[in-house]
């Protein structure tokens, strides 16, 4: 599988990130990098700071210390919409879709940043606005085809089962044609077959579009199967960083995360 993929240079570099909320230290001195085209996972027990790390990367949280370099551009502070404009898209641990809107419309919102026409033109659906919408719809249809969700194209998202909602959320992130995709527990709460499907889609996204993927996941077996490299966090500290085999063999990780055998 991995032999024909191209892993490029460093796309994202995280250096010495520390983040605290009042007295609570969520992250302390975290450093790692993400290379172009790889599947990079962040794992750790509950409250380890995984989602906080993701929130720092896409500009939602502003770490007190450290810096983040994306595509060679170092930044101290940035807002989520700037991250999106730079080519970072994400999904959320608790699905954040527009429940009353159809799958199609939800995915269409992923194209928002790429739309050039102003609100008035779009409302009138006239001339260039119309042509633009047709173009965007094409991309959206390709995403729908890719994720095989044609049958729910017009179904309000709120009526869909959980596993499918997750897929729609991935679709919305993909519609933005991101360079880097942040996935926050994409497989949480899924059954075995849904997990397998989701893995397939993640690997296909990575493989076919060359999208770099940063993944937070609870399910160890999934992470070890699909990741190129894994960062392990525990109580906001970095425990390990390396390929799945190294991480699996790391005694700290075994103790902290996989658990010491008690019986």
């Amino acid at each position: 599988m991995a032999d024909h993929r191209k892993i490029g240079g460093v796309l994202l570099n995280v250096e010495g990130i520390s983040l605290s909320f009042g007295g609570v230290k969520a992250l302390s001195n975290i450093s790692f990098d993400v290379r172009e085209g790889e599947v990079r996972s962040i794992i750790g027990p509950n409250g380890a700071g995984k989602s906080s790390m993701l929130n720092c990367i896409n500009g939602f949280y502003h770490p007190q210390e450290g810096q983040i370099t994306f595509k060679g551009e170092t930044r101290k502070q940035m807002e989520p919409h700037q991250a999106a404009a730079q080519g970072i898209a994400r999904t959320f641990q608790n699905i954040a879709l527009f429940k009353g809107m159809s799958t199609l419309d939800n995915i269409m919102t992923g194209r928002n940043l790429k739309m050039k026409q102003n609100f008035l033109m779009q409302a009138l659906y006239f001339g260039p606005a119309r042509r633009e919408e047709v173009e965007h719809r094409k991309v959206v249809e390709e995403v729908i085809d890719f994720l095989e969700i044609q049958s729910i194209r017009k179904t309000p998202v709120g009526k869909l089962p959980y596993g499918l909602q997750k897929r729609v959320e991935l679709g919305r992130a993909l519609a933005a044609e991101p360079d880097m995709l942040l996935l926050d527990e994409p497989m949480a709460g899924m059954n075995h077959e849904e997990k397998e499907d989701m893995c397939r889609y993640i690997l296909d996204v990575n493989d076919q579009f060359g999208t770099t993927i940063v993944l937070i996941e609870h399910d160890m077996s999934v992470v070890m199967d699909i990741s190129d490299r894994v960062v392990v966090l525990d109580y906001g500290k970095m425990l390990a960083d390396g390929d799945p085999d190294e991480v699996r063999a790391n005694q700290d990780v075994i103790d902290a995360y996989l658990g010491v055998t008690h019986d």
Binding site: H4, K138, E141, F146, E148, Q150, S151, R153
Partner: protein, 654 residues
Amino acid sequence: MADGATPSQELDTFPKLLLENARIRGTRPASREKDLGIWQTWTWADAATEIRALALGLKALGVERGDTVCVCGDNRPHLYWAMTAAQAVGAIPVPVYQDSVADEMHYIYEHAEAKFAVVENQEQVDKLLEIKDRLPALKKIIYNDTRGMLHYDQDFLDSYEDIQELGRKYDQDNPGFYESSIAEANGSDTCTMLYTSGTTGRPKGVILSYGNMIDTAQNSIDLEGLSDQDEMLAYLPMAWIGDNIFSIAQSYVAGYCVSCPENSDTVLEDLREIGPSYFFAPPRIFENILTTVMIRIEDAATIKQKMFRYFMGVAKRVGMDILDGKSVSLGDKLLYGLGNLLIFAPLKNVIGISKVRLAYTGGVAIGPDIFIFYRSLGMNLKQIYASTEASVFITIQRDGEVNPDTSGKPAIGVDLRIEDDGEVMFKSPGVFQSYFKNDEATRETKTADGWVHTGDAGYIDNDGDLRIIDRSKDVGKLNNGAMFAPNFIENKLKFFPHIKEAVTFGHGRDQATAFINIDLESVGNWAERKNLAYSGYMDLAGQDIVYELIQDCVEQVNRDLAEDENLSASQISRFLILHKELDADDGELTRTRKVRRNIIAEKYGELIEALYSDKTHCLVEAVVTFEDGRTDSVTADVVIRDTKTNMPTQAAAE
């Protein structure tokens, strides 16, 4: 336009019919497919060009006359073309069920001695790669959808387009080859080979000639007046004989357009968008549609519910007569007209059957309620009795003479005969040539003078209509000597929307008992309205309140059975709800969803014994096979319930 210009002497193969259609109706649509949300159309001329390129591409790859080419995937115009393309160069296309697991696929590829395969996509390629080592004869695999195929560099893999390109080159270098290759075949040559799913044993390869397919198609077109103005939606497996007649043979002969759904989950939406005029569906689909409608009605506003109930009552009373052209009082006619305006027409439009002027169902018995529902809405739904060995049609209900309990009169050209033991036999132009590499089975099924055993027990009633009772080999006896017809009882059970599958036992026993599979959608919706929490099938199936729901259904069937003196002894005395859904992947159903009794009896022997003991619980473990062939096991404590049976009531109910 369809006939008259078709001297059957000449147009005796599909490739010849294709050329003719391209000539006389080149600009009319031949196939449609929804791609990226937009319907794409190919005219007969387009189809002929595509098929020519692929056929010659196959030739250039080394396909010889008589080679078998397996075709596998969902209904796609490109795959239908592949069938005709193979035929054009003298090869024999063998469509394979697209949801077969690798092992089943291996059996068919090996048995058919397939040298080439044309498949839909990566999923099918992966399945073949898994078994490729064990298929030395398989030389090339051609895939249509290139998605995900970027990194597959095996040299026996080629894309459909590349082969077509190869074919166009071959055409330039060998002008006239295509035409002469088509002219070489005639009506008695093998057209296709279809593997029957078979409720017992390994699948058998049924060899059908062009004559079988084309004559059968022509006869049914004459009977029903189909023309090139008709529209068909192709959504049932390509490996099934019905699809070969409805989507290929009849389309080629009558010249009508066949539309393929976007994918297998979108069929109902696509049905609405295409609005076919000619439609086939097995009872299960009509049932599903009805269930969905009923569920939505339950959730509708009170006034809508009341209107629906009132007008459906009117429809039930007079709708069938209106459809059959019988006289109805003016008041009823007006009432029905109003119902049509307010309820029937909008409802048919939502389902997508507004334009249907001819619909068939068959395969298994359809519930009278379901059948009557559609007919009373004004849709001309008719039952057929069909088999692969007959190229589909054995009997067809005639317009104006439709009785829900029968399968109708023999189709044009078909002779029927009932054996002494009650078995139905037929002889027709569609009778298959033989089973591939299985002379013994051929001799068992087909007599020297061309009569075919159907294996079904039935009789011809006073109106000359065929009535099927059950599979003759399934009809058994209870210990007290009374007849036990399992399918008959199972069908009665399955007519309840809450029951998806049922398996009954009784042969060689004192009483009849049953396994039930609940319908997750229907019971799930019911549970939701009752605010009942459940985590999945197994959980829901085990709940007491669900048992009570099903018990009501079973006791209702018992009351019905009590009224029939032949069957009153086979009332269900005990039943259980299975902890898992019966599934074709586990070998419990055939790919066409018929129950495989032997396998179920073997697998759930423990449960059957429990049914015939006084146990109220039984702990079981079952193996589940996933689509990729892995297995896992589940354990469950299955509850067994007694049901009320009734004394025979004779005809007192009348």
